[in-house]
Every structure is written in C-alpha cells, then in structure tokens.
C-alpha cells in the first residue's frame, strides 16, 4: 500500500468564515495505480491533491504514506518527503522563469544534495524521457506550453519519486498538446510509476484506471475505467 488516508478533513479558517474544503475522505492507493480525481470546481480536488502531495496537512484524520504518518510532520519533514517521494505537475507549469529547462529539472536534486555532475546527467536523462533533450538550454519563456509542461514532467520524474501528482496538467493546453502530455503520463505509468491526476474532463480521466468523483469535499462516487472506455 502506498497511500492510506482515513477520514481526513480540511478546514480553512479565514477570520469569521470557515471553509470546510474536505469533509471526511478515506482512500487507499496501491503502488503503480493510475488514479484520477474528478469533480466540479470548488469540490476540493486541489486541496486533496495538496494533502496527498504533502504540501499541506489535514486538519483531522490520518495519512499514512508508505506507512509513515504524515499528518503530524513539520514543514521540513514534509519538504524531505516531497523531495524524495513526490513529483508535482501543475496546471500552470510552475517553472523558474530565469532558469533554463535543464536547471529547472535539476531543482529537486539540488535539495537532496546530489553532486552537480550527477544532477546534470540525471536531468538530461529526464529531459530525454520527455523528448526535450534539444531544449535543455532554453528558458520557459522560449518554449511552448506543451514543452513547458514536459519540462515540468521531467522535473517531477528526475528524483524517481514513488508518486507523481498532476493537478489539471492539461488545463492550460490545447487538446492536441494535452493528449501528447497524457501519452507521456501513460508511458511513465507503464514504467511502474504511481500517478494521481486531477481533472474535470472525462476524456483525460479516461487515461486512468480508477476515478473518484468529489462533491463538496466528499467522495461522491468511484468508478473503474475499463480499457474499452479508453480512446
């Protein structure tokens, strides 16, 4: 078992207003699963994703990641888990604008103390894996949206994480480029990675094996996606 969350809740308190973004979710995710999280805007997809990605901790409930209790960890412990175990792909790419593709991909390795030479080599390999070896020295501003997202995927892959999280990775891309990106995820999944994908588009979710639908911070329903549904 990779992930085991039990009855987690997330409450945002902004002065007098309280937003109950997650209201009791339990979920188990196996190694090498490909899960999609669906639901309307504001249903808590990103919040759940951030918790699963150890960017945030739940207000209540327990979260076991490979048996480690995440909910009680401090900032730096969470940072170490993210660095070692998790790769993120965001809707808005979130690349460092002043760094070239290679350096962006290297970034997670900078924070685990990998020596510069090995860092570079692994970053080049990750860029090759997403078909961007020839763009290594381009900055994000010199690349198309699809290319940027592939750099972000390379960055998510570079530290061989246990889990890759993608929050609407195709949301800012046209559908053709989006499909190319989904092909890359499919390939990564084929190599044994675990992927959690947030989307509100059915045809994107169709790439995954299992979809959970959120509504108002709860799991509304869960479905298995048969191979026959895949495009």
């Amino acid at each position: 078992m990779l992930i085991d969350i039990e009855n987690i809740e997330k409450l945002y308190e902004l002065g007098a207003t309280h937003v109950h973004a997650i209201r009791g979710i339990s979920l188990s995710i196996e190694n090498n699963e490909y899960l999609s999280i669906m639901g309307p805007s504001g249903s808590g997809k990103s919040t759940l994703m951030n918790i699963l990605g150890c960017l945030d901790t739940p207000t209540k409930g327990t979260y076991l990641f490979r048996g480690e209790a995440i909910q009680d960890m401090n900032d730096d412990q969470l940072a170490a888990i993210r660095n070692r175990e998790i790769g993120f792909v965001f809707q808005t790419f979130n690349l460092l604008p002043r760094a070239n593709a290679l350096h962006n991909v290297e970034l997670p390795l900078v924070y685990d103390g990998t020596p510069a030479r090995e860092r570079k080599q692994r970053a080049v390999e990750a860029l090759e894996a997403v078909g961007l070896a020839d763009r290594a020295h381009h900055r994000p501003s010199e690349m198309s949206g699809g290319e940027r997202q592939r750099v972000a995927i390379a960055r998510a892959l570079v530290n061989n994480p246990s889990l890759i999280l993608a929050d609407e990775p195709t949301g800012n891309l046209d559908s053709k480029t989006g499909e190319e990106i989904m092909k890359i995820f499919e390939k990564i999944h084929g190599q044994g990675n675990t992927i959690i994908l947030v989307t509100h588009e059915k045809y994107i979710a169709a790439y995954s094996q299992r979809a959970i639908h959120l509504l108002d911070g709860k799991i509304e329903r869960e479905e298995r996606i048969e191979d026959s549904q895949k495009t």
Binding site: G53, L55, D76, R82, R84, L107, V110, Y111, N159
Partner: protein
Amino acid sequence: MNFGENIGTGFSNLRANKLRSALTILAIIIGVMAIMGLWSILQGLQNNVEQQLAILGSNTFQVQKTPALQMGRLDRKYRNRKNVTVEHALAIRDKASAVKLVGPEDWQFGVTVKYEDKKTNPNVQLAGGTPEFAENNGYFVAEGRFITNNDVDRARRVIILGKDVVKKVFPYGNPLGKWVRVDADRYEVVGLLEEQGAIFGESQDNQVVIPLTTFQNVYGKNRSINITVQAWSADDMERAIEQTVAILRVERKVPPGEPNDFEIWSSKTFIDTFNNIARIIKMAAIGIVSIALIVAGIGIMNIMLVSIRERTREIGIRKAVGAKRRDILSQFLTEAVILCAAGGIIGIALGIGVAELLAATTPLRAAIPIVPAFLALLFSSAVGLFFGIYPATKAARLDPIESLRYE
C-alpha cells in the same frame, strides 16, 4: 546547503535587476569609497611623514616655546610663557653630557630675496642660525661654505641660499660673492645648499640662512628662538632629552612639580602627534561610514522584502520540490551578502581609484590600504548578512501552497 545553487541564483538575480541592485548598494559603494579614499590618502601622508622625518634623524630634537602642532589660535597659556633664548642654548651646550651639538635658530617666514631685477615671491623662509644649524637640520653645502662661528660672533652680513632661491634669482651666473637683498637688507652670498626635497609637499629648498646674530640685529632680540639639539647617538636621545629638560627647568626657574613651560619635540613626537590626528580622523570616518552602512542595510532589507514578495512563487516552487526552510534562508542570505559584497568591492576599487587620482594630480600620496580593504569587504558583507536575516527568515517561513497560489 547548496552553495553553488545559492551563488548562481544570487548572481542571476543581481543581473536580472541591475539598476535596482546598483541603487540598493549605492550607499555601501559611496560609504566604502569615501573611507577607502580617505584612508588611502591618510596612510599615504603618514608614510610620507615618517619617511621625511626619518631624514631629520632619530637623534635630534627641538626645544620651542609653543607646541609644534597647534590647532586653532595659540593658547594664552603658551603665549604667556617666557621666551626660549640663546642663553638657554648655551646652558644646554655647557651642561648636557649626552648632547653633541646645540643649535639656536630663529625663523622668519615670507621674506623676498632679490638680486638686480630678479626676485623671489615673498614666501622664502629665512633662518638665523649657527654652524650647528647645518648638521642638526640635515643640510649640506653644495658650494662655498656654511655659517662659521666667526660670522656669528661678528654678526656678518653673509647668506647661504637654498636651491629654489638660486634657481629664481640666479638662473645663469654664479651667485657666490654676489650681494642679494632680503627684504631691505643686503647680504653677501657665501654658500649654496644642496637640494633638500620636500616635506609634506612643501619644498625645503625655498630657504636662506644667515647668522643668528645678524638675524637678531635685523628682526629683533625679543623673539623666542628654537633650539635644535643633537644627541651623540640615537641611544643617547632619551638621556639627552632628560638632561635638556632638567637644565631648562633650572634656567627658566620652573618650580618642582609644575609642568614644563617649554616644548620638546623630536621627529618621533611629531610622528606620534600626526598619527594621533590621523587616528582621530580615521575613527570619525569609521563612525560616519558605519552610519552610512546601517542606512544602506535598511535599504537592502527593504529591497529584499520587495524582492521576496515578487519571488513568492519561486519560493513556492522550490519548497514544492523539497527545499527546506534553511535552504530558502541561506539562498536569500547569500543573495544579500553577494549584493553587499559587490557594493563593498566596487567601493574599494573606486576609493583606491580616487586616492590614486588625487595622488597623481596633487602633492598628496596614496597608499593601498590592504587591511582596511579586507575589513570594508567584511563589514559590507556583514551588513548584508545582518539586514538579510529578517527578509530571508520571512521567505523561509512562507507556506508552500499559498506561495504557489500567489499571483
């Protein structure tokens, strides 16, 4: 900590915001430049003073009525002292065993030397002296002779000319045997001095010497004179000074327990006094520059806070991929230090440049102050470190999710 990453990001950020970076560290640049320039000139002066005064010899000292270096108007305390007289000089000559030579002398500044239609500016220094004058002051005769005891005894109207005066008044012919005018009085030229060079940028060759007795006949006897005293050797200096002080206290009837009513100074006391003044100036400069650096530090803190706000997303990204608090902290501290150290280096270079320029275009000298340069670099870096702590801590504490959402 990722030193390479921090330095790389630091420099790329500096480059990306050239103008802002430059403005931020302007105060540091100016502060460091000012202190380095001042320091360099002062050090140059100090070296010069020591060099020049070494010529005067380490075994001579002077007795005077008033201090050699006196800021502002002469104090009443000094003006009311008894004059130093030839009798005092004779007493030292008779009684001080550690003393080799005693030369009473008097000076008149700003005389004009004239021969036929040629004359100097009214800025020549006229000395009245005795034969000891030459050795005690380190003067050498190039041609002719110096003042003799005979000249002094008979108050002869003879004169020895310094090099500058010769150049002005006798550009061609041989001055020896000619009669020159000093202000209203006529003197026969009997000797010429070797070139002396300059002390504190002031030529020592714009001088003429006449017998002390002649001098007193013309300029009056009621003036306080200087006495130059030469000890037998540098080792005898202390004893020579002690004996001189004791003799003068008796001669001048200074009651026991009262301070001396005359001043003794050697090149060492002069150097000490000068170094004291230089030290006070340097301390004042350090004080002012410290204030400048604090002001600069506050500016840097302000700009760092702005920069961190602008780069909130970057911080979020770094945290998302695993940067710990101390990684972000060290990144921004490194940036602040790089910025300030750059200011320090530019300031040092400009300061030394300004000093060298002054040295090249004025009589001032410059010395490259290596230790102060290191200190300036150290302090400007310390300013970066100190004033970077608050913004960097703020950056390190940012929440990753909120940072990623920040627009």
